[in-house]
Amino acid sequence: MVKLKVKDVEFSYASVPILKNVCIELAESEMLSVVGPNGAGKSTLLRCIDRILSPQKGCILLDERDIKKMSRMELAKKVGYIPQSTTSIFSATVFDVVLIGRRPHISWRSSEEDTEKVLEILQMLNIEEFAMRDINELSGGQQQKVFIACALSQEPDVLLLDEPTSNLDIRHQLEVMDIIKNIVIEKGIAAIMAIHDLNLAARYADRIIMMNSGKIFAAGNPASVLTPENIRHVYGVESEVMDKRGRPHIVPIRPVGKPLKLTV
């Protein structure tokens, strides 16, 4: 079933176009990776889907309802967003940060049910031992898990992740990706992830969208999108793509020529 539909979305910052004619369909329990060079519009797309930015054209339908017609709180109950930038956080315990994720569901007092939800999520992500620690004392990888927990306690149907693995060591990268994959499978959540690491995208995503200059350049399963030709066109990088257990594995070799710039 189609959970989320992005239809002909266009977005510009002060008349500089960032997104052009972007169309995406996302099913329940599907994990979609968005790849593309810096400035391709990946983050902007995620922000549009969570209505942090409003596209000038096109519409975004969630369960066939236009998100523009929903209240912020209504949207917050359905879409969780984990931004890339971690602005310095106020002193807060891990527990309290995850509890903040319950915001769309509580007005002033948090109930016993909220407490239980937070505990359940902490346990699910295996971070319950940090529950009473201050978030600023944790490592980047641990913090990322806390932010995922915060978004999960929102109980969203759609999870948007912007570079969830940047700045993480390889173990934490895998742990975080496993967590996301598990949530997608177990909870039936649909996830859209902007990601730079093509190999992680290839390994975990059900489907990949490759963006360039605000447009979708290629879309489909990892093997069909992550080809040497596409990578050369979009990134201007010569690469070798190998097959690792049915998933493409990309070895970048050298930059070549100039990456193709799509014109409007």
Binding site: F90, I100, R103, W108, L122, Q123, E128, D134
Partner: protein, 379 residues
């Protein structure tokens, strides 16, 4: 996780119960802190009321207050028609008049100013997500000072008579916050725009105050300087009633926003995705905090440091959850300010120092000590 064996599930359940217990204990600690601050205010107030040229014991103080309250309710009609001052001068004994007429107004002003400034500081720190913020960060103190200076040196103001300084200070304080409000409406309310605009206004108003002082009479300039120190010496019941109306209106509204302030703490985008209207929250809280600050400093002058220090001290003890931090820092701020004023009245008695000087003298070493002692990053 779903397929975990029963033994594992059990340890999982145990772990969960343990975390829950620790979380409950943490909340308990916050509540104890809030209650202790209340008790502390009560004790300091009692001690403060005994100080002065006329000796009254602590017990007598509490008893006078205790018996005064029903008396006031009993004669509410008389107070309504003749005023509070007329009432206690007619009905009360000398001791009672000293407590109710002279010492209690000062004490209550200390409590209200402490609560208001500390909560305004906590709110500002949350709004601009910056540990250096205080009620005065956005230029409100300089603006209020300019208003007061205008009244003192030139005698120019929005009203005439004895309230000219108060009204001027209040109006200019709000004027500065409305300028910032306007600017942030025009160019999105990010912490950076707000802080920079606040600093710019601070310089502008300081310069304007400077010009007035430069050309002012020596006596008037001295009065301006005294005003800026901040003092509780000008307390009276009618001022208190105005002050408490503003505080009673704004603080519950700020507290209703504590969840949203918490959400701002994890970053604007995250807060937006949690359904929080970030810019509106920021502006509403900022305007409320400004209103509280203006409503206090127009009566007391710019009492410094309480609004910066009290939130930090409380954050070190009870953490950053604004649902608890706002009341805690308010009450603790009241205790701090009352304590500082008690010292200000006794340290070189019979000379009474302005409390604004003592808050800094007392607060800075205490604050530095806490920062040094605290190993972990609490901010």
């Amino acid at each position: 996780m779903k397929m975990a064996s029963s033994a594992e599930t059990k340890t999982g359940m145990e772990k969960r119960a343990e975390i829950k217990a620790r979380y409950k204990k943490f909340i308990g600690r916050k509540i104890i802190f809030i209650l202790s601050s209340l008790v502390l205010i009560f004790i300091i107030a009692g001690v403060a009321a005994t100080l002065g040229s006329f000796p009254i014991s602590v017990i007598a103080v509490y008893s006078i207050i205790w018996h005064g309250i029903p008396e006031i309710f009993h004669n509410a009609g008389f107070i309504m028609s003749h005023g509070f001052k007329e009432f206690y001068q007619t009905y009360f004994t000398t001791e009672e008049i000293i407590i109710w007429g002279l010492r209690l107004p000062r004490i209550i002003m200390g409590i209200l100013a402490g609560i208001g400034l500390a909560i305004a500081g906590t709110t500002m720190q949350g709004v601009v997500r910056n540990p250096l913020a205080s009620p005065y960060t956005l230029g409100i103190a300089s603006a209020a000072s300019f208003g007061a200076t205008l009244a003192i040196i030139l005698g120019a103001g929005f009203v005439t008579g004895k309230y000219i300084i108060i009204v001027n200070a209040f109006v200019f304080a709000l004027l500065s916050s409305f300028i910032i409000y306007g600017l942030s409406r025009y160019k999105s309310a990010t912490p950076e725009t707000m802080i920079l605009a606040g600093i710019a206004l601070m310089y502008l108003f300081s310069a304007m105050t400077g010009i007035l002082q430069y050309f002012g009479e020596a006596e008037a300039v001295k009065e301006v300087v005294f005003w800026m120190f901040g003092s509780l010496g000008r307390a009276s019941w009618d001022k208190l009633s105005l002050m408490s109306v503003i505080i009673a209106f704004c603080i519950p509204l700020i507290m209703l926003k504590s969840w949203d302030l918490n959400a701002l703490g994890v970053g604007d985008e995250r807060a937006k995705s949690l359904g929080v209207n970030v810019e509106q929250t920021r502006i509403v809280c900022f305007v409320l905090a400004s209103l509280v600050t203006a409503g206090i400093i127009c009566f007391t002058g710019t009492i410094g440091f309480i609004g910066l220090v009290s939130p930090h001290m409380c954050r070190m003890v009870i953490g950053g959850d604004n649902r608890y931090l706002i009341p805690a820092s308010g009450l603790f701020g009241a205790a701090l300010l009352l304590g500082a004023d008690t010292i200000a009245r006794t340290i070189v008695a019979p000379v009474i120092l302005p409390v604004g000087l003592i808050t800094s003298f007392m607060g800075v070493p205490l604050f530095l000590y806490l920062i040094m002692r605290k190993r972990k990053e609490y901010w």
